[in-house]
Symmetry: C2
Subunit: 355 residues, 2 copies
């Protein structure tokens, strides 16, 4: 089977199939979600994640159906009136649209696809600042300093970070972030069908205050309900039990490998591909400024050579992701997740250099 | 491994592990949800389900994270002001509570646990009539005639049926139902993490009218968005691709077996267990009236013998489900899903008769 570089669902982490086989052998897919055995699995996954991301005390791990759901739930639970969104691609744009659809005053700072943000001057008094750490559609990553600066600009705002296609790579300073979320089919290399939402006590207090004001914060997946269940290592609904188990197992694999090793390998693979793209005469990186170049989703401007490059890579067992939306036929995207080996990246670079 | 009679998550359908292995072999868990291959899988699942349930034209199959989500989405999308709920157990009660939490005038007709409804006299002008075909907490099933009678009583209302733990067993007259839903970890014997929501054109029109009135019907999972994606065999978010594939495969197995055979086997197994319970001197069926006795979740009033019976069954490899909630220590529940073989039921009955 080819190595799948599409940025999610992507190549499975190489241990997942074995973990799935073991799950079936242990009867995990038919486990009651109200059993002790499930609570143990849920605890192992959330505690493993807290260790992997080095989350401080007071940060909680919650499970949803998708990261898309978390866009909706976070606005619904954290915003009475207004949010401020940084929009530079299709996914940050969708997050903003969801806030608008929910009837909030959703303000935005917008730059064209492929760009990041410079010289932000605080505006207004938004309740939530919504930042997309890694724009999967364009391969733009926001520098951590930029993300961490909002605590100073807006001390009263909740800083909500979409890290769908970057975690666990970024080493966030969580004291400067109130909520972060991801979906398991990106860097964790798992089958899709599970979103992971991390919130701190400020988020919970805010949701409770909305609830007391009579604002509709949803039902089974409002924050107070999610939290009261999570404290018992439970979920309000019957969740994706198999997905939670597999996530816990892959987190265990990541912990054994070491987050520093994962980060270094990610940077090595990104460095060799960006170098090849910068030096190439037919293709170039879509994101020009190095400080905005994503380490986990690398986008190549391949122009009229797109289909030819994709076909040549395919003959060597490498399947790049299409460009996103209107750039489908002029770009290729390469996921650089923990499952993508150095060897696969070296082969990719070798092949590109020869084209 | 023991035969798991808990009513969901329950015993996996016996083909699921093989289908999962085949899915991994085909790369399905890492398939892009925007690919043709995914559309084909999604189409196979929805068309198979339409065939299995004999859905008329104009009924659409939608995917959510859970059936719990469908409680919320159905109220959010179908009710401007008022709904009417038939409450006779924990799950029908929760459906009613969700409508209340969403700020609707949620009226209810309530009877004690273990009972059904008699002699309904039409009241008010609810926009939605919410019926729980099979109360998983008590083993009460509403007769089909009762469910089908609401079209006459309330021609303008949308008839919404929770069939979480009964489909595909009941042979509904869909011309008298506007929406029905289930979750895959019950009768379909699949790993949890997927809800299936069936709606007709009246539901879509209603949701669109709410949207036009400025009522908040949610964002990525509002009905118009779900429908416009479903028409392309797509989903708004990255869905549980593996779950949708596995559902399609099990539906294929059910179709090959034949829905009539599945229904007859279900009735045979239910008949022998109810007979044993009726004739037993230490235990009896919790649901006394035969017309309300569920065919898919059978509840035994086991009183002080509960733990003893559970232990004896366990020594023979049979794992009953606990009673629900406050009846945890005085009842046992037995799922009677297509995966529970006639042989397993015959063994269960033999063992019970000897106790």
């Amino acid at each position: 089977m080819p190595v799948n570089f599409t940025p999610g669902p992507s190549q499975l982490y190489f241990t997942v199939e074995d973990h799935a086989r073991s799950a079936f052998r242990q009867g995990i897919p038919s486990l009651s979600h109200r059993s002790r055995a499930f609570e143990k699995i849920s605890k192992q996954t959330t505690e493993g994640l807290k260790e992997l991301l080095e989350l401080p005390e007071g940060y909680h791990v919650l499970f949803t159906g998708s990261a898309t759901e978390i866009w909706e739930r976070s606005i619904q639970n954290l915003v009475t009136e207004s949010s401020l969104h940084f929009v530079n691609g299709s996914f940050s744009k969708r997050f903003h649209e969801i806030a608008t659809q929910l009837g909030k005053q959703a303000h935005k700072v917008e730059v064209p696809a492929g760009q990041g943000f410079e010289n932000y001057q605080p505006i207004g008094n938004p309740e939530v600042i919504a930042l997309t750490h890694n724009e999967t559609s364009t391969g733009v990553s926001l520098p951590l300093d930029f993300i961490h600066s909002f605590r100073t600009h807006h001390p009263n705002a909740l800083i909500v970070v979409d890290a769908v296609s970057s975690l666990p790579y970024p080493k966030f300073d969580y004291t400067k972030i109130d909520s972060v979320f991801f979906s398991v089919q990106k860097c964790f290399g798992l089958p899709a069908g599970l979103g992971v939402w991390i919130v701190n006590e400020r988020c919970i207090a805010k949701a409770e205050s909305l609830q007391q004001q009579g604002v509709n914060i949803g039902t089974y997946h409002n924050l107070p309900t999610l939290i009261s269940n999570a404290k018992k290592h439970q979920t309000p609904e019957t969740p994706n039990v198999l997905g939670i188990y597999l996530l816990g197992q892959v987190i265990g694999d990541f912990l054994r490998k070491g987050i520093n090793t994962i980060r270094k390998e990610t940077e090595y693979k990104a460095a060799i591909l960006y170098q090849a793209l910068h030096q190439h005469d037919k293709v170039k990186p879509f994101v020009v400024e190095r400080k905005f170049q994503s380490q986990t989703v690398l986008v190549a401007e391949t122009g009229t050579a797109t289909s030819q490059i994709a076909e040549q890579l395919a003959t060597h067992g490498l399947q790049p992701g299409d460009g996103y939306g209107e750039r489908k036929k002029s770009q290729l995207r390469f996921a650089n997740f923990p499952t993508h080996s150095k060897e696969a990246y070296e082969l990719l670079v070798d092949l590109l250099e020869k084209m």
